[in-house]
């Protein structure tokens, strides 16, 4: 075995601009997709728990189809498949001086739609974990469903959903690597590009792995901290 330590340390400690841009893209795509996932997931969870049959059926179908197919297939389908069929073509656009390329948009949307299906299930279980009595009291006092959700149910569901949402975000962070197949220069594709010039695969992928380990571990630490804070604050109210 020959491990090029100097090269490894160099890549790890002084990563090039391209790699750092890739890191930035990885994180910002994950964040954008998470926002889409949260909003859309909440909507779909509401649909699944709502009365009208078509809405319920649509939500179930969505969750079933997205969770039943591989993300990689979804990504290619959305970026290349939709355009090939002439349904949807992702065009670059520029916002505040930042150009977001079509493939990045497609990647974010694919990741976001995927995330939404998982978020919907998390929200649904969170909402169902809220005591039925709370729903009844809100209804009995005359709150329409939207108001009941916003003021009574969701605030109480929040506690239950925080941890699974955090875990799901960790998965999302790692899933961003998949958009490398549609040409988004996130960390993985950048590593691949560097590799095709230097062929130090072992060292380069070790570095890539360590960067991901850092990202996911930082996120886990943040989650633990947030959880502890929440616990403390609730203990605060309990003994007030």
């Amino acid at each position: 075995m020959h491990f090029d330590w100097p090269y490894f340390w160099h890549q790890l400690l002084t990563p090039g601009d391209k790699f750092l841009t890739g890191l930035g893209l990885t994180v910002s795509m994950a964040l954008c997709a998470e926002i889409i996932g949260l909003v859309l997931g909440l909507v779909i969870a509401q649909m699944r728990l709502s009365r009208p049959r078509p809405l319920r059926a649509f939500a179930s179908l969505y969750i079933w189809a997205i969770r039943g197919t591989p993300l990689l297939v979804q990504i290619v389908f959305i970026y290349t498949g939709l355009a090939a069929a002439g349904i949807m073509r992702f065009r670059d656009f520029t916002l505040f001086d930042i150009t977001v390329s079509g493939s990045v948009q497609a990647g974010i949307i694919a990741l976001g739609l995927h995330e939404a299906a998982y978020m919907a299930e998390i929200f649904r279980s969170g909402i169902q974990a809220v005591d039925r009595g709370q729903f009844e009291a809100a209804k009995a006092i005359g709150m329409p469903p939207s108001m009941m959700m916003r003021y009574v149910v969701l605030p109480q569901a929040l506690r239950v959903v925080l941890l699974p949402i955090g875990n799901q975000f960790n998965i999302l962070l790692k899933n961003t690597t998949l958009v490398s197949v549609i040409g988004v220069s996130e960390m993985m594709l950048v590593t691949e590009t560097i590799n095709s010039a230097t062929f130090r695969t072992f060292e380069l992928y070790s570095v890539l792995g360590l960067y991901f380990l850092m990202l996911t571990s930082l996120w886990t630490l943040f989650m633990r901290w947030a959880e502890k804070r929440l616990e403390l604050s609730s203990r605060g109210t309990a003994t007030r």
């Binding site: 040409g183 590009t193 095709s196």
Partner: protein, 252 residues
């Protein structure tokens, strides 16, 4: 030295190839590998009394796969370039030329630098990517907007993005562009002039001099008896033929 033991005992020569680069290597409707490189490889093996096996690997993964021992050689329009020669040996067998492929109706330019501010697709790890990056250096020095390079794992994906209109051009080899132009008439217009020409070779691990020697010898015989020319004529790329056999690179 003769052939490596593993090859001799299994009677099989395994090639790694990115099967998305017609007419050199691609798969037909029956999912069988076809193309000029494929025929060349099959013929070389036959003369060594070996069967062939083709493994489809994305271009950027070819050299790692060879190093990893997934195959005995790379036959995949792999240009002979200094950084590659540091890690593998290459047996020259043809020329290649680089062009920009455009969709019909788009303005055609001959120099990548003129794609300033536009989007150009390329395959990860190919020389086209490097050439586009060099063009960007130049553009940067001149204070012009750079080319947006969009990398794809396979030639197919890159070509498809061009067809769909998600990129303005595709940095490819002349041979690939010509093939698509012939097979999708009216869809593709190749860049009028190749802007880069380079020697192309079969990749072999450095510790298997026996194999490179054997390939080099058999290739010379193929040139002599005209079977080399026949393959290149069949696929319409005679312009890429070598004039005379060349020694394995790096020469030492």
């Amino acid at each position: 030295a003769g052939l490596p033991d593993a090859i001799a005992s299994s009677k099989t020569l395994t090639f790694c190839s990115a099967l998305s680069q017609p007419p050199l290597e691609f798969v037909d409707e029956n999912q069988t590998p076809v193309g000029a490189d494929i025929e060349l490889g099959d013929e070389l093996a036959k003369r060594l009394d070996l069967k062939t096996k083709w493994i489809n690997i994305p271009f950027s993964g070819l050299i790692p796969a060879l190093q990893a021992g997934q195959c005995d050689a790379i036959l995949s329009q792999l240009f002979i370039k200094a950084p590659r020669l540091e890690v593998i040996d290459q047996v020259p067998y043809a020329w290649s030329q680089e062009i920009l492929a455009f969709k019909k109706g788009s303005p055609v330019v001959d120099d990548p630098v003129e794609m300033s501010g536009k989007k150009v697709a390329s395959v990860t790890g190919t020389t086209a990517t490097v050439l586009l990056e060099q063009a960007n250096e130049k553009l940067k020095a001149e204070g012009k907007a750079p080319i947006t390079i969009v990398e794809f794992p396979t030639g197919t994906a890159a070509f498809q993005q061009l067809m769909i209109g998600q990129v303005d051009a595709y940095g490819a080899s002349f041979e690939i562009g010509q093939y698509y132009d012939q097979h999708n008439p009216g869809e593709i217009v190749t860049g009028s002039k190749p802007f880069y020409k380079i020697l192309t070779g079969i990749g072999v691990r450095k510790d298997e001099k026996g194999l490179s020697k054997a390939l080099e010898e058999q290739f010379a015989l193929m040139m002599k008896d005209g079977s080399y020319a026949a393959i290149y004529k069949k696929w319409g790329i005679e312009s890429d033929m070598l004039d005379a056999p060349m020694p394995t690179q790096p020469a030492n």
